[in-house]
Subunit: 336 residues, 6 copies
């Protein structure tokens, strides 16, 4: 099978044990993650060849980040190691009940933000690939990252790959002088599959549900597909957060027809990070292995639900585990 | 008070911290347990003299296993230490929400499986005993273990002890060329008290509820007692698993009359292993201390419920704690 | 802003990791706390100048206790270090579900119990203070502690400070020959703000709800204010414990008018200790920063609810976090 | 083989991880130990039946202390559990290089100090014993402990046991109104084997080396044996502390003839506590298993040297390990 | 006593447990330190009032850094908290034997580097101070930091304080366009006490030992005092590193006369960081408490030697501990 | 550069923290290692393409073992995953001073022992390889493993690869009915580079130093090369174990000429396992990168010395680190 290639930053994640506050911590647990690499790792774990393209600092810390994904079977050969740069970090405080989990970013001026777009030979990178996935985080980080991404998407189109994006709009990140609204449309226009919530559609593209629409998501997705005709599927996870320890999620898909899954109830939430990445990883797997978008969507939402029970950024599950739940067993009964 | 003697394998349990997957673990928590020894340890903790009979490898690991139960007051003098053998292991991954906990066994060719039945002088072992307890795991492990067990049960009968069994049918374990259906009837025939679910009754003895039976468990238990007239009480825990973090359990008993307890709701589940052993430990304690099977059954189900909150295989609770819940306080209110 | 001064014992808290029983522990987590110092630390964290007055043993352990609060910004200059004395300890076992958390005290003959009342120059201690807070624990510990407290309260009255007390009656603690009923009325008589449950009002002051009272708390509070005319506000948290992992709390206040908050549902409970101290810390903060008792009460109950999610005795939260919940968001949604 | 019985206090030991100072510790490692119980546990580990007599608080902590030794095979049936009492504690800070390790005691008013001498039926306790061992710590703790010890020694003499003592004079401990110099001679007079350094001989008995003596230890031991004719062997470890991480020890014995071992060099020292107890445990083992005092002495010093490499109070070694070193291999070469 | 004020950056230190490499770490131990704050904390621990002046990021991480020193008694009131900035970090890998410990810095663009010199009101900060201490790290970080330092030194001179500096030249740090050789002379010219090795004297000031000098350090120090007449004492630690686990250090001082201490041998080294800061903390303490530079120098070198045995950046020792070693006991013998 | 291919078993290593005995451990640290895979991982870390060929159990544990090496950059594509088999384990107790470290194997009946030789297509596996490395462990494990190895060696010869072996004779391992002396000569005959100590030469091949030989190693190596003319280089590490914490090692090579390195002194030893594998990994690296055997030998011994300071089985070092020591700096001086 050909590779799924992901592009984006990998950060070190530092989190106090259990539910300690950052100010209490005498130690941090260390993980490595990134919204795109997490998708690649999930796919590799499901048996889909995956490669991740990124820029890391030369030295121990960049090496540790790369090894962390290499371990999970992600092809890291295309990672560029830049001397004299730093690794982006984030601190994660794990809440409980009515106390929210908190992320504190320290990712400014990372090696990834300072990457050299010319360092990526996309035709070579994508020559054995069938799919390119990116998120709206990368073009937010720097002009250079946006440029490298644009090059990659164009090569992917040229080579006939499927392109997917999680638009994932985070206002705070766009700090290099360009607005998301200027940059994103051009990038999204070349995508086949897009994860986009109603809020993001409004913020990024000024698209709102038609006044008369009964199904707001379908209305928005429909407009998005009209505006960007390359898009064939629009996805979203709808999340109802009961507390920091309890989430309810369902998946939505519009491809002309509207589909949604049942609601999955997750309590306790072991790790809140990476649920969206797991959803997309599951959807790409499903798209490559099942006959219908419906099956892919259901695979995706169960994969995402399971991710909430796994420590770290990355979804470490098997196809058998997802299918077991898909067959209706959400009881978590002991397996011997 | 005379001893309750248990017979069975003790294994080392290795479990990743918190909810990590086995592939993530940089360390394992170490516990020692076994379905029969857990009953003995629970009884010792409740003040009932208990002895455990087993075969362990000579050397540090067998010694660690024995010490782990000796610490809890279980008389380990009858443990045989066999040179050149290995200790059975199991790996436990602790799930959460809809992700199941998983047990991976590595117990083949253990010292226990290779035990020498002649090494156990049952008349001596049982000379100060009032009760012998075993489970369906032991005869599944090897012909030698089945033989040692048969010897023990016969001696117990001869000496007038009460004999109890948790039939606990695990198809995968029976690998030495004999089927459970050949071996178990003979062993169960000599028991006074049997834990047997409806599924196990069907699988092992081909006993199914009478077509017209309103109470399936009572129907099955009744047939079991007819088939094996030595049996005076049939027990079961009925478990409704909501998720890996949430169990609902109740106890059932049939001794001519059907009894059941109310349902105990356990959330979160701290440790899923050993709930059945705790139930039986509680029932033996209750049988020895209370006037009625009803009281013993209620003691047993509360003991089992509490076990779900205690890390490790063994139920570490006091009589006072069980009685406190039996008196109606399931609130877990802080005790100062 | 002038200081809030608290007076009371600080103990070392030793707790087994996760839900281990005390007999299982190969290590203990170490925290320091005390019902009054916890209030001071909560206030310091909210930006209110706080000082704590206590007696600790000279040497490493007393120093560690003092440093623990100094770290949080509590002014510890008035702590007296007594040579040759011991630090009070308590062991905390964290329950789950229907298994209760348990506190085992080892605080007899602590440095605090043996304090010298003459060592505290209250006029100096209180000269930059606006508020003195104490609890019913201190006068229970020893005659010396009761005397020091009485001196402090008198000085506070003389200097025109607000005085608050959490009467917190613990029968077991009163072991030095005097009964709470003899000692407490005199101390409470000089207070402006009192936390007192209906049970404590009955036990300490023989005050019970009027036969015809619809609102028992208001009836009791009203009688308390009649008996002790200095009291202007009576507070209480009403706690409905669902299990060791699940609490429901609401706040009550009577100042002529009865006020109560909505119920906050906390699941899972991360740390059960210090919820009442957090409530009072929040109330003092609220009283100093908001126009109405209603606002102070609501701030207090949310502060207390949040405390249940934070490891250790002390409430480590910010004003912004409380206000976020007060504005209606109890969902604990991830904050990036 | 008949039992060796030891009598003395068991304390909980709390130590910061690695080389942290007490004020730095966010957790403590938990062990249980006592100078006499450590001897019993070492003997049990070497295969000698051992029982320990003590008084512990009723409840979880006393139970944990007892279980800790029960695990190692020490017969704890004669332990008395006293309600309402506390467990003695000590805090251990592990130094390194020129920074000394430090012990901070918190053992005042322990259950052991308040024991009831009448609770020990020494004739019953010693009926299957061949040896009674005690140390100078016990009579230092309280008059009651001294009385219980005196009763035990007398019973031992009456029953013809060997009695050994480590006089272990610690000036600070004697706080109940009697001086060691008043109490100890009477107790030592009934001993067969005594560990006594030259300093202790001077401090306790006013015995100093004869002016002309070349061998000070032999001179002192000789006088001790003259003064107390029951004593047949006087032992000592001579310790040359190079640093907190590096000890040199040798063993000395006088029984009319002077014997000494070669010097054992221990670097790094893993755990400084219990080296003397290990020495005596080794000597008792050696006395029971070897033909000559010389062999017993050599076994003892190697056992003590090995103890310095084992975490916790107790010496966890095998006869084979000691004999391996005795045969000349101190290289610690990897054993597969 | 008046305060000693220190000025400089505080960083978060992240280190893998034990001797793990950075790429192996599943967790990091967290400490906070800085070359100047470490001096302040050491002084506070020795009983000298100390305040630290710095700029930290607003938010949890800056707060944690400040609390870490506040805990040790350092007055942190003058710390400025800058919104939107990051905390400098460093990663520390602890070597052993011939494998070196390694520091990886990630301190670029920290809040400290971006401080606003106008935010520090030095006349107010220093109004109760007797001594200002700085290091050559601060002016290396940014022009702003150099400016703030220059302001502070001038105020100190104006107010008649003693000023000390550890020139500590690190070539890699000077990256903002100015060279150390341009900046440092002006700052050093106002100092009374300077720590300066022969290498630093050459690199920073072009000062080399006179050709004929027997004592190179004295020759260099003498030239330094001639060039900068305000300097009255030049100090240095001479370090002979045997391995990552074994250091030999001695102290040197020139104030017209040359003094040196004996060599202290430290094995194993527990923590290599902060030895120089401990030396200067000790020297300032000694200068304030002893009559002669000789005594101060000896106190300083012992303080530094002890620091090598203490985890973290900061020297946590008492005057009594230093004096015990000064009196000749370097054996680290157990203290009970 | 073409790959170096290694063939052998990977085991899970379970070790108690610090210097705990196996019987004390409440947790185990988890690593994965094997004498041949360790060589591959060391080479990958030094930048040499490496692939490892093995048989692992299907399922989580086999996956974890494979991922552990995949993380370090070892190509694991040729690993075979066998359903229904177990992973070999070993328990490692880390000694100190005169207490030896101990390995307890539990590797019987592992997936590797039961491998199917036909599962390895050696022509395919070796098609991009330049070197095949094996050890005497593999043919000891089972006839199947010996057969697979023989196939691999023959393919390697046929394809013109360099073949190296560490003969590593462990008498206890040979349990499947064939003696090493029957099997090994045939395998060694096809090797170019052999690690063989004088003891192993005697035990395996009956080769002893010539009576008159001054240099025993050279004499033995010379005979070995005469007996097996394909062998061009014979290597050995000479180890002088001072204690479990202190090793002295040097490297020896004979290729017609005798070469040896100076002695490297390692104290403390952090991890004793894998020193020999690191030596060979270093030698292969050196052979591929340096002009002379002398350089390769020196690189190898320094690589091995550094390994003793790194936790786990695998040598995690860089070329720069080895070269730094080779240039004469064994001081382990802090690197910033």
């Amino acid at each position: 099978m050909k590779q799924v290639v992901t592009f984006g930053e990998i950060m070190m994640r530092l989190s106090p044990p259990r539910h300690q506050r950052l100010t209490q911590a005498a130690s941090f647990e260390v993980n490595y993650g990134g919204g795109e690499a997490n998708v690649g790792a999930a796919l590799a774990g499901l048996g889909v060849p995956a490669a991740h393209v990124t820029c890391l600092p030369a030295g121990e810390l960049g090496q540790a980040a790369a090894q962390s994904f290499q371990r999970l079977g992600v092809d890291m050969r295309h990672a560029v190691f830049a001397p004299g740069r730093r690794l982006g970090l984030y601190f994660l405080e794990t809440g409980a009940s009515l106390r929210a989990s908190r992320v504190v970013y320290d990712r400014i001026d990372s090696a990834f933000a300072h990457l050299d777009p010319a360092a990526f030979d996309w035709d070579d990178i994508l020559k054995n690939a069938q799919w390119l996935h990116w998120t709206g985080i990368s073009p937010a980080v720097s002009a250079a990252a946006a440029q490298a991404l644009r090059d990659g998407i164009r090569a992917a189109r040229r080579l006939g790959l499927t392109v997917s994006a999680d638009v994932n709009y985070r206002r705070n990140l766009w700090q290099y002088g360009r607005r998301a609204q200027e940059i994103m449309p051009d990038l999204v226009a070349d995508c086949d599959v897009v994860v986009c919530s109603e809020n993001d559609a409004d913020d990024l593209f000024g698209i709102r549900p038609a006044a008369a629409a009964e199904n707001h998501f379908a209305s928005v997705a429909n407009q998005l597909m009209t505006r960007f005709p390359q898009i064939k599927q629009v996805l979203s996870t709808r999340r109802k957060t009961q507390s920091a320890s309890h989430e309810c999620i369902k998946g939505q898909l519009y491809d002309g027809t509207y589909l949604e899954t049942s609601i999955y109830d997750i309590t306790p939430v072991v790790d809140r990070i990476g649920g969206g990445d797991a959803f997309l990883g599951g959807f790409i797997y499903g798209s490559l292995h099942y006959a219908t978008p419906r099956e892919a969507l259901h695979f995706a939402i169960v994969a995402s639900a399971l991710k909430h029970t796994i420590p770290g950024d990355v979804n470490l599950i098997t196809v058998a585990e997802v299918e077991h739940v898909l067959q209706g067993d959400t009881t978590g009964r002991l397996v011997r």
